[in-house]
């Protein structure tokens, strides 16, 4: 059952990177900030989860909760350091990018100084169980990753669709100028957005460290993949990011299977370039009809 195995791997990878991509996408479209500090948020949440796992308890909920909470805190830190001081200054887009990148780099060095270069690993929060489903063996870890990301995504999207703060965030995504006219405070909404997207990245970090390790620079690859999936899906669209994440997850799993892990980034970027050549604004234009009106 090679194909099934490839597809399961693809979905697992897509679930994790999709979370980051959606976080990148929401931040960009509501705050106009390309947040390159997700690498920092990622490591921050990972180390927080690791600290809880080694110092407090190995309870899976506690570990995942610590990661999510630390991610939200890291998001708020970035909002306070970058978004609030810079958002109404000229050339905010490029300044914001440089400032968040700086935080990411400084953060990595601080982690290197505090925790040392040795990688840390989290305990298995989903256990080692296996489920036989026809001929396919599903490990608890993979099911857990997919279920957790989808739950997080559903919670985030439902909150954005039904709550008042979500309405404010969506209004700001569509027209920041009009949002201030209807009395939506840009800076306060910025805090909500950064906390929400930080929490998403925090969960992604805990999930990814089920497979990989936590290290000072471990956030770099997820950041690159998250940003490129967000671009490929069309910035500002949740559906687009989901489609792009599945597409690129499939590419990653197929490349791993038939060519080898070292070619993953190459094939992924080739696909992204292809998509952007055909649809310069990303995939989302296909599904989000009211977007460009």
């Amino acid at each position: 059952m090679d194909i099934a195995f490839v597809i399961i791997n693809a979905i697992t990878v897509a679930a994790i990177y999709g979370l980051i991509a959606i976080a990148v996408s929401i931040t960009w479209s509501s705050l106009g900030l390309v947040n390159l500090a997700y690498g920092f948020i990622f490591s921050f949440a990972g180390y927080a989860a690791w600290l809880v796992a080694t110092q407090v308890s190995k309870d899976p909920f506690l570990i995942a909760g610590a990661g999510i909470l630390a991610g939200a805190v890291a998001g708020i830190i970035i909002c306070l350091l970058v978004f609030i001081p810079l958002h109404d200054k000229p050339a905010f887009t490029s300044r914001g990018m440089i400032a968040t990148l700086a935080i990411s780099l400084i953060g990595s060095q601080v982690f290197l100084m505090v925790f040392g270069p040795t990688s840390k690993s989290l305990p298995d929060i989903f256990g080692r169980g296996k489920v036989k489903f026809f001929d396919i063996t599903l490990t608890a870890e993979k099911i857990g990753i997919v279920v957790c990301s989808i739950t997080m995504l559903i919670v985030a999207v439902t909150w954005m669709r039904s709550s008042r703060r979500g309405l404010e965030i969506r209004a700001m995504m569509m027209n920041p100028h009009a949002a201030s006219i209807v009395g939506i405070g840009i800076r306060r909404t910025g805090l909500y957005v950064m906390a929400l997207t930080g929490a998403m990245a925090g969960l992604a970090s805990v999930l990814l460290s089920q497979t990989y390790y936590i290290a000072p620079f471990s956030g770099l690859t997820p950041l690159i993949k998250g940003v490129s999936i967000a671009l490929c899906g069309g910035l500002g669209s949740v559906q687009g990011a989901v489609i792009a994440a599945i597409l690129l997850g499939l590419v990653e799993a197929l490349t791993n299977k038939f060519a080898g892990g070292q070619f993953v980034l190459m094939t992924q970027f080739l696909v992204i370039i292809l998509v952007l050549m055909i649809r310069p604004r990303g995939i989302s234009g296909l599904v989000d009809k009211a977007r460009e009106q």
């Binding site: 109404d88 200054k89 000229p90 008042r164 309405l167 404010e168 969506r170 209004a171 995504m173 569509m174 027209n175 100028h177 009009a178 949002a179 201030s180 006219i181 209807v182 009395g183 939506i184 405070g185 840009i186 989000d288 009211a290 977007r291 009106q293």
Partner: protein
């Protein structure tokens, strides 16, 4: 009674450009004031200055006796939401609108005070009584509406909270004449109580006889004022 709006020595503009020159203006409670003038003479900039959305500004602006004008050289829109929360309802020019939100969500977004949010159902009903055609469009994204319907949404959104001052920037712009008249009539029929309405318009005929005062604007300054008995010469 304090004036709803009292502007003294207001200058405003964008970068090196100065659009409004030392302007003074007073609007009293219950008044409907029209401001007419050609394109590019500062009507919209005056509205933006009241809302704190210009590039820079200086001078005093009192909204219901509270200072909302600031001397500043940058940070357009930084304080707009606070000014809006003090009782300013802005119905902007054109379609400054959230295209992906439905009509209902759009109206909800106008109810930003806690009190308005709790009573938003009744408030939406009130808006729908004024703009009957919106009733069956509540679940439609605003991006799919026609120009006239969008304008109704935009004005209706401004009516979702109890403002002290309603700023309506060219409510008839870009609409078919018949529709423009209907929108303007609905706007002027709103019960103001002790708040005030300030309407910018290029088509003087739409305002004449229906507002308490008409002020002319030319090259960033107020020029001439006419009372409600004002008639366009030759129209009668």
């Amino acid at each position: 009674m304090t004036e709803v709006l009292k502007i003294e020595g207001l200058s405003a503009g964008y970068g090196p450009l100065r659009v409004i020159h030392d302007l003074d203006l007073v609007i009293h409670p219950g008044e409907r004031v029209g401001i007419v003038g050609l394109n590019g003479h500062g009507k919209t900039t005056l509205f933006y200055a009241i809302a704190g959305l210009t590039g820079w500004q200086r001078g005093s602006i009192l909204l219901n006796g509270r200072q909302i004008g600031r001397t500043r050289s940058q940070g357009a829109g930084r304080y707009t939401h606070q000014i809006v929360r003090q009782g300013l309802a802005i119905m902007p020019q054109g379609d400054e609108i959230f295209h992906g939100l439905t009509v209902e969500e759009h109206l909800d977004s106008g109810a930003f005070t806690p009190e308005a949010w709790r009573t938003r159902k009744a408030r939406k009903e009130r808006v729908l009584d004024i703009f009957e055609p919106l009733r069956k469009l509540m679940k439609t994204p605003v991006g799919r509406l026609s120009g006239g319907e969008r304008r109704m949404v935009s004005i209706g959104r401004g009516l979702m909270t109890d403002a002290k001052l309603y700023l309506s920037d060219e409510p008839s712009l870009g609409l078919a004449p018949k529709l423009g008249i209907a929108v303007m009539e609905a706007l002027l029929a709103i019960d103001l109580k002790d708040s005030a309405m300030f309407i910018a318009e290029q088509n003087v005929a739409l305002l004449e006889g229906k507002v308490d005062r008409i002020i002319g604007m030319h090259a960033g300054k107020l020029k001439g004022e006419a009372s409600s008995s004002f008639r366009l010469s030759g129209s009668h």
